[in-house]
């Protein structure tokens, strides 16, 4: 049994993803370095990771979000950046959690469209409220139809 000494105790790490036609992850990183103060910034291919005290991280994220509100997305991360248990530099292959991000990043431009519409509504450019989404569960097979299918199979 080995004693475990956590690194970066009391800190918060947040991912900042960017999927924008106007800004690249490198632009975002430069902006983040300018306002980082004592917080740690880690550049990634999709954006950055910010690690520091909670107040510090929230303040940095608020300023970064303002750069492109509809195309910058933020979420919490449990591990600090470069942790050998998660970093792909040590593990090889995709980082655990990559496939989840890949899945959602393919759909994120649809969410950006929703956020842009919301911003347009707030500015008074659009007045018509969008209809609520259809019920999430797909159409189910009717019992009578199922009975007919079963009856067809019985010789």
């Amino acid at each position: 049994m080995t004693i475990y000494h956590p690194r970066y105790r009391g800190t918060v790490t947040k991912y900042v993803f960017i999927e924008s036609p106007d800004m690249t992850p490198a632009d975002l990183a430069i902006q983040a370095y300018e306002i980082a103060g004592g917080a740690m910034i880690k550049e990634t291919c999709f954006g950055i990771m910010v690690t520091g005290s909670e107040e510090e991280v929230i303040s940095i994220i608020g300023k970064l979000r303002a750069l492109d509100p509809s195309h910058i997305f933020v979420k919490d991360r449990g591990f600090p950046p470069g942790d050998p248990r998660r970093c792909r530099a040590n593990l090889g292959g995709a980082r655990p959690g990559f496939f989840g991000h890949e899945f959602e990043m393919c759909r994120i431009r649809n969410v950006s469209a929703g956020l842009e519409r919301l911003a347009a509504e707030e500015r008074g450019e659009v007045s018509e409220a969008p209809a609520p989404p259809e019920k999430s569960r797909g159409k189910r097979l009717d019992v009578e139809k199922l009975k007919k299918i079963i009856a067809k199979q019985v010789p």
Binding site: R9, F73, R77, G78, E104, V111, L118
Partner: protein
Amino acid sequence: MVKVFIYPATSLILSDLVARFGHTPLGSALGIRERIQTPGLESPPLQISPEEPKKGLKYAAVEVPSGVRGRMSVYGPLIDEAEAAIIINDADLAFGCMGCARTNELIIFLIKKRKIPVLELTYPKDEQEGIEFVAAIKKFLDGLGGKK
């Protein structure tokens, strides 16, 4: 500010939208961070110790596999803490081994059993669905009150 449990618990989209509209998202990162930052004995990779399946007994019976109980020790306290929840039903990214699949079913069951406000959606497949998706989440979160 209302604590909103998100499912999938690792969802970037839900975590961002809940925080953006002034509430607190409860996702797996919070449970993992708590374990990662607590000193003790090394138990890689997620610092899930042999004690966790025992804590999971609050949420799942003893005959349920320890993998489910271990996962529930992370998610269970978050569900207890939640005052509302948003569920995405067609979340392929939540697919995993039997432990993950059964835990996911149990999470949704426990959320519904708590009788808290729940919004169920699917991932937007095009821009029109994206507009409806964001509007539905905004309406739901505004309706919860307690905004910062």
